[in-house]
Amino acid sequence: MASPCELLIDTTDKQLAGQLTALAFFEARRIEQKYSRYLSDNICSKINHSHGKSVIIDDETYRLLCFADSCYQLSDGLFDITSGVLRKVWKFDGSDRLPHAEEVEALLPLIGWPQVQFDQNSVTLPTGFELDFGGIGKEYAVDAVSKRCLELAPQVSVVVNFGGDIQVTRPRVNKQAWHIGIENPETEGDALRLIRITRGGLATSGDARRYLCKDGIRYSHILNPKTGNPVTDAPRSVTVAAEHCIQAGILATLALLNGKQAEEFLNQQGVMFWLQA
């Protein structure tokens, strides 16, 4: 998951805590190995190296593609899992190395979710296209793990925290809320504010660590698939609370993609959110 992953378990049962931790570890690793774009020999790699041929997919992958499709439709194309190809030229390493405009434009023909064809059994990508589950994979893993935890221990409150993407499975026994700190983008490690959460999902999107900076302009790692360029004037960080972590994650990302209108967008959704300008 390329980030610290932790579970907080509200129990005094050491054995149960051990079981939950093991369950979480294996489920998270399973999802990472299946969908990480950095690994070869997984379904993601197979799809991305299919050269226009159809690739057989399982039910889980089909559901993820359906979800990605919904996000694309709901965002009028702003959320597009084929846009990961832009990372070939955009390296968000905190430096000032921006790609040339031609480099970016050359990639635009390789982006466009509507050109991906899929059904329950297979997916077909145009040659040169790539799918990147990075925008939903970690949040999906959080939800999948918390679902497993809830099945194993329906009476125990568990916080699943994968690098700031969080799901709380149920309220704690003593009725207290979990206190989750939102990191200050400027000073890593310091909690900017504490959020009380009794259950549900929480996700943060922002450029705390991944950005480029040139001539005083900060380029967020959120890329607009239509232009191939980073979103400008977006808040530095957006945290959203929703029923499920993955919903919160999508809303946070879409808020950033709306740039200046991030706050307006979130207000329209009627969810709890916290912005860091």
């Binding site: 009028d76 206190h179 504010r193 709306n258």
Partner: protein
């Protein structure tokens, strides 16, 4: 994406999420948010040897409406019967007293401490409390209290604000409460230091009634109580939590006990008259409370100390300790020891000397006199499924009034003016 055209995508996103995760959208929400009501019930028997017997039932219901929005409602009903000390001293001969209603008399045998055995009352108390988080890191709480017994009505409101600091290891709280009490005792409130009339001293019923009525004020009287509490709770380490509170309480109004009297005695210690007591009409009390709880592998140790001081000169020290010891994963035993000591109010007098004339204030009520008390008890609890708990408590309580330095005249030297009060408490409680 144009904001004006596309407003809320949350509904569609929720549907997509549920398809992805295979989770039904609504039922899961309803299932996990809806917390059931929790009930605490208890029945307590309190019996003093030869004095008051009380039975108290408590029914408390708590509900978490989600996100720490908690309501608690509580009904307490107690019934009291028996005899309570009047404040009069024992005598070497039998004594006759007029009951507070004025309608009847009772006799107390020679050398016996005078007790009024008409003590009989039922009290109903209702409490409602709402607690919820507010702003960031604050909790607010507000409550109402009503208590009614035959001759007494009490109404109170309270509010509290608590803030967590230091990653919730420190909590600072501020509480304020106001109570209004109204009292309209049986037979009316006695006139301060009025002499108790006895029927046999009067030629006719009418003459007696007129004399009795002259000792009484009509209508009710009231008192106002304002309490302020400041508290700090600090987590010391994984096993220890400590609490320090300071409270100030100001009461203004009718603080006299209408059923208490004093014997006026001569130099031989013989009673010349019985007069109704009179206390100041205000009292300001300060208290400091310190508590530490320590979690052990096999239980919890809880020790607390309270100091109070007031402008009636009553200073008290309370040391309370409980040790919960887990006998098994679902049973525990909890011994309890409490020690209490108080000094006498400046107006406390076990009797009045006929030669001294009447003071401004005086009470012979042993509860405002010097005393020590201790409680020794044990509780046994069984934890059942789903947070249910059944517990039994048995305690012995003894109050030992002391002579704060009066030289008893004559016959009073041979009589027990400061008898101990011994009581047993038994309680069964069930949480479900």
């Amino acid at each position: 994406m144009q904001l004006n055209q596309r407003n809320n995508i949350l509904g569609a996103l929720t549907a997509a999420t549920c398809t992805l995760l295979g989770a039904p959208a609504v039922s899961q929400e309803a299932q996990s948010v809806e917390e059931p009501w929790k009930f605490d019930t208890a029945i307590l028997y309190y019996g003093e040897s030869e004095r008051v017997t009380a039975v108290e039932g408590v029914f408390s219901a708590t509900k978490d409406f989600g996100n720490e929005h908690i309501f608690n409602g509580k009904v307490t009903i107690d019934g009291l019967t028996g005899a309570s000390a009047t404040g009069a001293v024992p005598q070497p001969t039998a004594q006759t007293f007029t009951r507070p209603s004025g309608k009847d008399e009772y006799d107390i045998a020679a050398t016996e401490i005078p007790l009024d055995d008409t003590f009989r009352d039922t009290r109903v108390q209702l409490n409602g409390q709402w607690t919820q988080p507010a702003w960031q890191d604050y909790r607010v709480s507000g409550g109402l209290h009503v208590s009614k017994e035959y001759d007494y009505l009490s109404m109170a409101v309270n509010g509290a604000l608590a803030k967590d600091f230091n990653q919730r290891n420190t909590t600072v709280s501020l509480g304020l409460s106001y109570a209004f009490d109204s009292i309209d005792p049986e037979g009316g409130r006695p006139v301060a230091f009025a002499s108790m009339p006895l029927k046999r001293d009067f030629a006719s019923e009418q003459q007696y009634q007129d004399a009795f009525d002259a000792t009484r004020l009509t209508g009710s009287d009231d008192k106002n109580t304002l309490d302020l509490l400041l508290g700090v709770t600090q987590v010391i380490n994984r096993r220890t939590i400590m609490q320090l509170n300071y409270g100030v309480s100001a009461v203004d109004g009718y603080l006299t006990d209408p059923f208490k009297m004093l014997s006026v005695v001569n130099t031989q210690g013989l009673t010349q008259a019985l007069v109704y007591e009179n206390r100041p009409d205000n009292r300001t009390r300060h208290n400091v409370f310190w508590q530490t709880k320590y979690a052990m592998d096999s239980g919890v140790a809880d020790i607390s100390y309270r100091f109070t001081t007031d402008d009636w000169d009553i200073d008290s020290h309370t040391l309370d300790s409980r040790l919960r010891y887990n006998l098994s994963p679902n049973t525990y035993i909890q011994p309890h020891f409490r020690y209490y000591q108080q000094s006498a109010a400046d107006f406390y007098q076990p009797y009045l000397m006929a030669s001294d004339g009447l003071p401004q204030f005086a009470s012979a009520d042993y509860r405002v006199g010097e005393m020590t008390a201790f409680t020794l008890g044990v509780k046994y609890g069984v934890l059942l499924d789903q947070g249910k708990e059944l517990a039994f408590r048995l305690e012995y309580y003894q109050q030992d009034p002391k002579n704060p330095g009066f030289d008893a005249p004559g016959v009073l030297q041979d009589l027990d003016l400061y008898p101990s009060v011994k009581a047993v408490m038994a309680q069964v409680s069930y949480r479900f």
